[in-house]
């Protein structure tokens, strides 16, 4: 009887241990995955292919639905086309813990979203370490930009890039998009005559502004990892930094 109890306890202990070490995290796209990685999640499974220009449109397959249903955690933002289908198909018995985050690449929002994931996963210390590196990166970037205040005081920014621009201390004279520019926005841009336009790579709308007499410099920042081999949030920020440096130098 004692030996049976011992064996039972051993089996329970092993299975519990396996459970802890094999917590599977699924993310809807490269962007939500990059937040999860920063929060300390290992081996995050990403649903939307990284080479998609606009990953929120990705439609989940039945096979992927099964993977999601068996996962422990799903990190999502809420704007993904697949979320409706996932919510519908998950039964009441599903053990999946859904972690909704806000995906904006501003320093503050990255902190909030990453810590929200870390609290659920129990990886706060890893997340804090990663966020410290992120803060150092932003500090350095801001320092670099302090040499270009003249150009950066005349900037217009795409709606979906206003967050990271704000974290860098850029105060845009106008926020445009995400819809194509209206007559009013065209008139506003003509009045402002910006020196720099920060457009969004994933749905660029600033092309008409480039026909001004004094052609402004333009950068197209990314949000989702995937462009030019970017895989992490730090890659994304580094890519955007390089893009900006090219027009500032």
């Amino acid at each position: 009887m004692k030996s049976i109890t011992k064996w039972t306890l051993l089996v329970l202990f092993i299975s519990f241990g396996l459970n802890l070490s094999a917590q599977s995290v699924v993310a809807t796209n490269g962007w939500t995955a990059s937040f999860a990685q920063l929060a300390g999640a290992d081996d995050v499974l990403i649903l939307a292919p990284s080479d998609m220009k606009h990953p929120p449109e990705y439609e989940i397959s039945l096979k992927e639905m099964q993977i999601v249903a068996q996962a422990d955690y799903l990190v999502f933002a809420g704007y993904e086309a697949m979320m409706g289908r996932i919510r519908e198909s998950l039964g009441d018995e599903s053990q999946l813990k859904m972690i909704q985050i806000t995906t904006v690449n501003s320093q503050q929002m990255i902190h909030e979203s990453v810590m929200k994931i870390a609290e659920v996963l129990g990886t706060q210390s890893v997340a804090a370490e990663n966020l410290k590196n992120l803060d150092d990166f932003f500090d350095l970037w801001r320092k670099d930009l302090s040499w270009h205040q003249e150009m950066l005081s005349s900037v217009i920014v795409h709606f979906h890039q206003n967050g990271p621009a704000g974290s860098l201390g850029i105060k845009p004279l106008m926020v445009f998009g995400p819809a194509p520019p209206t007559l009013g926005e065209n008139a506003e841009v003509l009045k402002i005559k910006p020196a720099l336009i920060i457009d969004n790579y994933h749905n660029p709308v600033a092309d008409p502004f480039l026909e001004m007499d004094e052609e402004p410099a333009i950068v197209r920042w990314i949000n989702f990892p995937g462009t030019e081999g970017t895989t992490t949030l730090m890659d994304v920020l580094e890519y955007n930094r390089k893009q900006l440096n090219q027009v500032l130098d």
Binding site: M52, H54, P180, T182, L183, N186, A187
Partner: protein
């Protein structure tokens, strides 16, 4: 205002909108008189298919749309004239086929749906210089067609059978009408999108049909209405900062509503 109009994208959008407002309602008259409303739906789906092809093969979306619509109208006209199959059935068939092929292309080539959906909205300030010239050339051609072939056109619109017996080359005129309708829809979708193209094409024509006693005054009223709706829509969009296509549909909708009420009152008193 002057500075804004001298801004190339705005200038191109403004000129193309006024030209379209003046000339596209002529096709609207063709659509209403020959009951081609189903065909118009099919042509809109044709533009969707063209968009999917253009995005898949990195081709020019406008030229693709013009090509696909020309192919579809010629095919349908030819098929409906050589068989007893009603045009409505044919247009429905091709409409479904167009969407089916478009969806398959979008899925297989992983085309961003967002890019395809842009076709539904149009983009008046995204017209290139070449697009503008093509549009102005087409407007000139359709205007000259109506001016110089007015008698034959009116004969075909009133009664094709009688037109044929009176020596009018009804087949040629009918084919040309279909071709112009196809090209009009392709251009209108590029300008204001699928959801609002009726503001440019049909509403001015419907206004004209309400008020005109002859086909001649119908064409003139449709053109003038279209021009005024476009100009009014543009000014409204400028005044209250709206997308131009929304401005046009608001002005067109309100004007059509007023004319409809006026007509109702007039009929009641007579």
């Amino acid at each position: 205002m002057i500075e804004l109009l001298s801004f190339p994208p705005v200038f191109r959008g403004f000129v193309s909108l006024l030209a379209a407002g003046l000339c596209f309602p002529l096709s609207g008259i063709f659509i209403l008189r020959l009951n081609l409303l189903n065909l118009r739906f099919m042509l809109m789906h044709g533009v969707m298919l063209a968009g999917a092809i253009a995005l898949s093969a990195s081709l020019d979306p406008l030229l693709c749309a013009l090509g696909i619509n020309l192919f579809l109208v010629l095919l349908i006209t030819s098929m409906s004239r050589r068989s007893d199959i009603p045009t409505g059935g044919l247009t429905t068939f091709f409409m479904v086929i167009s969407v089916g092929v478009a969806m398959a292309l979008i899925y297989k080539n992983q085309i961003p749906v967002q890019d395809t959906m842009n076709l539904l909205w149009g983009s008046i300030f995204a017209l290139s210089q070449r697009d503008l010239f093509l549009l102005l050339f087409f407007c000139l051609v359709i205007l000259l067609f109506v001016l110089f072939k007015y008698r034959q056109i009116s004969a075909v619109l009133i009664d094709p059978e009688t037109a044929r017996t009176a020596g009018v080359n009804e087949t040629l005129i009918f084919y040309l009408i279909m071709i112009f309708t196809g090209i009009t829809i392709a251009f209108a979708m590029r300008l204001v999108g699928a959801l609002l193209l009726d503001a440019l094409v049909l509403l001015p024509a419907m206004t004209a049909v309400s008020f005109s006693r002859s086909l001649k005054s119908m064409f003139i009223t449709a053109s003038l209405s279209g021009f005024l709706y476009s100009l009014g829509g543009f000014l409204l969009a400028l005044k209250v900062d709206l997308p131009v296509s929304s401005g046009v549909i608001l002005v067109a909708g309100v004007c059509f509503g007023i004319t409809y009420i006026v007509r109702l009152i007039y009929e009641k008193h007579n």
